[in-house]
């Protein structure tokens, strides 16, 4: 083993081939534009955009975030300008500034038809490589989490999206369930090409001085290093339950954290909250993954997938 031995970092999510396993976590990277000053977007395995809905969504009231030990709660509520504006602004920008990076559009909806409508509209755009179907947002009243906590509802969303596209469908799973493997199997059966997990854990924080919740909405989604062990455990459970690839996320801050998810069974990983703490986090994670492989004589990063020894 030499220090500069070439490491093959490529991985595949079904038909979607990635130059490396490091992607962005939806909602923490917008569409990349704000990070272009800090990150070489073309080095990313993929950009996963913020959630896009058919019509513009206003999101929730403020305060929308609260810092908690080694993490944060958010209740942004999927504020976004809708699919048309997304195509006109974000996609056009990405095509021009990050032409080599696959774009995965995160899709949200209140109803099955809304999800399918977004996918159908985006399928007209050649700049989109795949979809991540968010059935796990804890921050909207209808849709979102409701779909992600019931096997038939989750399957219905996936089946409806499957009907309108042949592009890869990644289904984003919620940790707010008692058996995540069961939901994963249901979406696999409905036609998902991959699953991604975890979305945020439903949480709450109260200011004891004012006796009011820290978030205007009361509850929100917990993310960051605080949730990492829960996420690793769920990735491990899901990877054993399905045959499709798994994208792992939840508190990844370093390359070693990313490797932990791959050992648990993830084919690719996503960096979320870390982007807020260090806008270059995705690059650091990518460099760290490569460094780990060199140090441990791993020639192909995909050899690490599920390689935990029990």
């Amino acid at each position: 083993m030499t220090m500069d031995a070439h490491v093959d970092l490529s991985v595949a999510l079904g038909e979607l081939e990635l130059a490396n396993p490091v992607m962005t976590a939806s909602g923490t990277f917008a569409s990349g534009r704000e990070f272009a000053a800090f990150v070489d977007l073309n080095r990313l395995g993929a950009v996963v955009t913020k959630g896009v809905s058919a019509q513009p969504w206003d999101g929730n009231e403020s305060p929308r975030i609260a810092e908690t030990p080694s993490g944060m709660l958010n209740s942004i509520g999927l504020q976004n300008p809708g699919a048309e504006a997304f195509c006109a602004k974000d996609l056009v920008w990405l095509k021009e500034h990050a032409p080599r990076v696959p774009v995965i559009v995160n899709v949200s909806g209140h109803t099955v038809d809304e999800y399918a409508a977004v996918v159908e509209r985006l399928d007209e755009e050649c700049a989109v490589s795949a979809y991540e179907i968010n059935i796990s947002c804890p921050n909207v009243d209808e849709g979102g989490l409701a779909f992600g906590t019931s096997c038939p509802a989750a399957a219905a969303v996936v089946a409806a999206c499957r009907e309108v596209t042949t592009r890869p469908l990644i289904v984003k799973l919620s940790p707010n369930v008692s058996d995540i493997a069961e939901i994963a199997r249901a979406v696999e059966a409905a036609g998902a090409d991959a699953v991604s997990l975890i979305n945020t854990l439903l949480g709450m924080a109260i200011d004891v001085d004012t006796r009011r919740p820290m978030l205007a909405r009361g509850v929100g989604g917990l993310s960051g290093p605080a949730i990492r062990p829960v996420a690793v455990r769920m990735v491990w459970q899901v990877a054993r339950a399905v045959t499709i690839p798994v994208v792992g996320m939840g508190g990844i801050m370093t390359g070693r954290d990313a490797i932990e998810f791959m050992l648990a069974g993830a084919t690719a990983v996503a960096v979320g909250t870390a982007n807020f703490i260090d806008p270059t986090a995705t690059m650091r994670v990518l460099d760290g993954v490569e460094e780990y492989c060199r140090k441990h004589g791993v020639k192909r990063v995909r050899d690490l997938i599920g390689a935990v020894s029990l």
């Binding site: 080694s70 960051g224 703490i277």
Partner: protein, 270 residues
């Protein structure tokens, strides 16, 4: 409008960290790239050390920029600022994203400005006062604070302004009472073509309505909880007549007439 330069991520060195009043510090950082490009009213998003359970950055206005240095005036209110009060030249794990945000607008032709500060609201006004003075704009500064020693940056304003009017809650300096009593009188007695206000949101709201009555345009600098600080996460929205905007990049400075007050305010502590 000032065109914001692209922010950078810069490792900063602590050159000095002095306590200047009860619970208030003045931090001098070596940050050459930020210092060179920062405009009045912009801020830095500061990482105060790594490996702690408080993971998020903290936003602070740039009070002044001199050469390759920036100055930050801060008030200790929680864990992050308590840690900031303890940092010194030996700490090597601080970095800043900056300069961020849309700062104070100084339209061509501005000749008489009223600057209104409440407490630490003086922080984003230091560079502004210097800039206005350098451009020959006549400035009146109305400062409010709980007590005399908390009239932070008073000397700076006194050195560049035509007049500085002081108010304190306890009467230890200037007139006893709220700064808004002073501004109401100033707006009635003198002619201004711009009001700049920063302080508690209630104070900014009150000054904005006084300015509107006097027919003078008013800019305010709003605080919101911020995760990314660069426009990506939508944590920091301000409700405006033009929809929801991001305090971090569309603000923190807004024209008051655009702000829908109360709608997105950070609830005051206690």
């Amino acid at each position: 409008m000032t065109v914001s330069p692209q922010p950078v991520l810069e490792t900063v060195r602590v050159l000095a960290n002095e306590r200047i009043a009860t619970g208030v510090g003045l931090l001098t950082l070596q940050a050459p790239r930020i210092a060179r490009s920062v405009e009045p009213g912009q801020f830095v998003h500061l990482r105060i050390g790594v490996g702690r359970t408080e993971i998020l950055r903290r936003p602070f206005s740039v009070h002044r920029a001199v050469g390759d240095r920036i100055e930050i005036l801060y008030q200790v209110v929680g864990a992050g600022t308590a840690r900031l009060a303890r940092v010194g030249p030996a700490d090597e794990d601080l970095d800043a994203i900056g300069p961020v945000g849309h700062g104070w607008d100084v339209p061509a032709g501005t000749s008489h400005a009223l600057l209104v500060t409440g407490g630490l609201g003086a922080a984003p006004m230091g560079m502004l006062a210097e800039r206005l003075a350098a451009q020959g704009v006549a400035c009146v500064v109305a400062m409010g604070a709980p007590t005399a020693e908390r009239l932070v940056a008073r000397e700076l304003f006194e050195s560049v302004a035509r007049k500085v009017v002081l108010t304190t809650d306890d009467g230890t300096a200037g007139t006893r009472g709220l700064v808004t009593v002073a501004t109401e009188r100033l707006l009635a007695e003198e002619r201004f073509d711009m009001v700049y206000a920063c302080g508690p949101e209630g104070m900014q709201r009150a000054v904005a309505s006084q300015a509107a009555v006097a027919g003078v345009r008013c800019q305010v600098s709003l605080e919101r909880l911020m995760a990314c600080g660069i426009g990506a996460c939508l944590s920091c929205v301000v409700t405006t007549t033009n929809g929801r905007k991001r305090a971090c990049v569309d603000g923190p400075v807004f024209y008051a007439e655009e702000v829908v007050w109360y709608a997105s305010e950070v609830p005051p502590k206690h």
